[in-house]
């Protein structure tokens, strides 16, 4: 394990985007790790978009990635004190319009598709949430 020295402003910059906030908040709230397709089905955003945002979060030191076959699991970096405070901050944010609650619900639904705790399918948005529109 290696700790990459990151300038503080890079961490805040990484969290200055709504989608990236939703990603980190989802993992902070659930304590889970998630592969990209699970994030796609939870946030209902294009795959290439989330792939880029996850990369930003990784380069900022907030996420660690672990490859498992075709899937790449992303989890929060927990061994930096001020990052844990950042996660607490995210969990303390208001959810005035219930947008985060929706992400959370979608994520829970998507987690149910795991087999042996591992994701075994790809993007399921079309079949799972087709009726939701949005």
């Amino acid at each position: 394990m290696h700790i990459i020295q990151v300038e503080p402003q890079v961490v805040f910059q990484a969290l200055s985007d709504p989608i990236r906030i939703r990603i980190i908040r989802l993992l902070a709230e659930t304590g889970e790790e998630a592969c990209l397709c699970e994030l796609v089905d939870s946030l209902l955003e294009p795959q290439y978009k989330l792939s880029r945002h996850v990369k930003v979060l990784r380069q900022a030191g907030l996420l660690a990635a672990e490859k498992d076959g075709r899937w790449v699991y992303h989890r929060l970096v927990r061994d930096v004190d001020y990052l844990n405070i950042a996660y607490d901050l995210l969990r303390a944010l208001p959810d005035s319009e219930g947008l985060f609650a929706r992400d959370l619900q979608n994520f829970h639904n998507r987690i149910c598709l795991r087999e042996g705790g591992r994701c075994r399918v790809g993007i399921q948005t079309a079949s799972l949430y087709a009726a939701e529109g949005d």
Copy 2:
């Protein structure tokens, strides 16, 4: 008093700049308020630059401004839970190169010039820190 609803990413965006981090960190660490010229003498950055950065922080809901004669005092907004966590976060940041320690020292020196707890002078950088260079 009124609370302006601010989207979370705006707060992080406000803290995504090194100078703005230094401003908030200084006020969080000392518990003080500061007028603009005191910030100029503490951070050793141009006045127009800090004026703009302070404006960003104000619009993001992190700072409140109070005018007193020719001086404008800036203080942290304390009545929002997640902002207080943000201030804790800033105080937990490393100061690997001692840059923040310098800001803090300059600020303490500058506070000594107050009369009756109020700033009564303008920018003193030239006379106070002329020898420091940078």
